[in-house]
């Protein structure tokens, strides 16, 4: 059981090392002259940016974050269920467990349908 976490540590180490190595190599390889004129722009041959990127966004988008949190918590319930579904099947309770989760998801789908009906999901 502990060795599974060794894999997680291994992957985390490789991920961090890859990122650091990539940035280090690009730091070594790139030319060092100063960026001036159009070189200093975010898109060298694209649209000129208007204003700063650190600006206030439309408050209506917060509802997407709120909905995301709810369905994220739903995933937290699905996770242990997915872990034991095979065990439940070998215990003869597979269909039962499956439909229990379907009921769980269906109740939450009512919420999604409500959001849809209210026009919350529209990107305006």
């Amino acid at each position: 059981m502990q060795n599974n976490y060794a894999y997680i540590a291994l992957f985390a180490t490789i991920g961090v090392a890859f990122t650091v190595a990539t940035m280090w190599v690009s730091w070594v390889v790139r030319p060092t002259h100063k960026r001036t004129g159009s070189k200093a722009e975010p898109y060298e041959c694209g649209e000129l940016p208007i204003g700063n990127a650190w600006r206030q966004f439309k408050a209506g988008y917060y509802i997407f974050a709120l909905l995301f949190v709810v369905f994220d918590v739903e995933v937290a319930f699905i996770f242990p269920w997915a872990r034991v579904l095979r065990d439940m099947k070998s215990a003869g309770l597979g269909l039962f467990a499956f439909f229990e989760m379907m009921v769980f998801i269906a109740i939450l789908l009512v919420g999604l349908a409500y959001a849809w009906r209210k026009g919350v999901l529209k990107w305006d």
Partner: protein, 188 residues
């Protein structure tokens, strides 16, 4: 003894166990250092958005500590809910705040003279708690907990499990009712 997380059952164990023990200690130190360093970075960063990014690292470190305490389900939920959802909430709140992202808004606490005794008092209380509390030396549950939780959700706690989805449904409806801009004047 606050930091002797795995000195339990050291006797009567073989060499293999001692090896994993030191490995666990090393990973605990690494995770604790990451948590502590990024927590310090959260409160010292000039840009509040960078603070948020370090908060993610702090949450990840806490998840690692949960793993070391063999609370694997808690670690998964920590990654899912805290890193996944809470961070997104804070990020949205930051992006929706006017002028908070401007560089000239200071992140420095200007009333540190008041804050210092308060935080020092809390620190003293916490240290006393850590030192004086008789930490239970019971061994952690052997094996992953996610399966146990899943089984009890599917059998013993089936009704609370389904009720939880209704609670979440209420949360969806409440969030929509509270946060949606009212367009009732608009007939379309």
């Amino acid at each position: 003894m606050p930091f002797d997380l795995h000195s339990i059952n050291l006797f009567d164990m073989g060499k293999q166990f001692v090896f994993t023990l030191t490995l666990q200690k090393i990973s605990f130190l690494a995770v604790a250092f990451m948590t502590f360093a990024s927590a310090v970075a959260v409160v010292t960063m000039k840009n509040i958005f960078h603070s948020l990014l370090f908060l993610v690292l702090t949450f990840l470190g806490v998840a690692g500590i949960y793993l070391l305490l063999s609370a694997d389900f808690l670690a998964a939920v920590q990654v899912l809910v805290y890193i996944g959802a809470i961070t997104v909430l804070i990020m949205f709140a930051l992006m929706l705040t006017s002028k908070l992202m401007a560089k000239r808004v200071s992140q420095t606490m200007e009333q540190w003279i008041v804050a210092l005794p308060v935080t020092l008092g809390i620190l003293v209380v916490l240290i006393r708690l850590v030192v004086l509390n008789p930490w239970g030396m019971k061994a952690a549950p052997a094996g992953p907990t996610t399966g146990i939780i899943g089984t009890s959700l599917m059998t013993k706690y089936l009704l609370p499990f389904e009720l939880a989805s209704i609670v979440l449904l209420v949360a969806v409806v409440g969030a929509i009712l509270l946060a949606k801009e009212d367009k009732s004047d608009d007939p379309s």
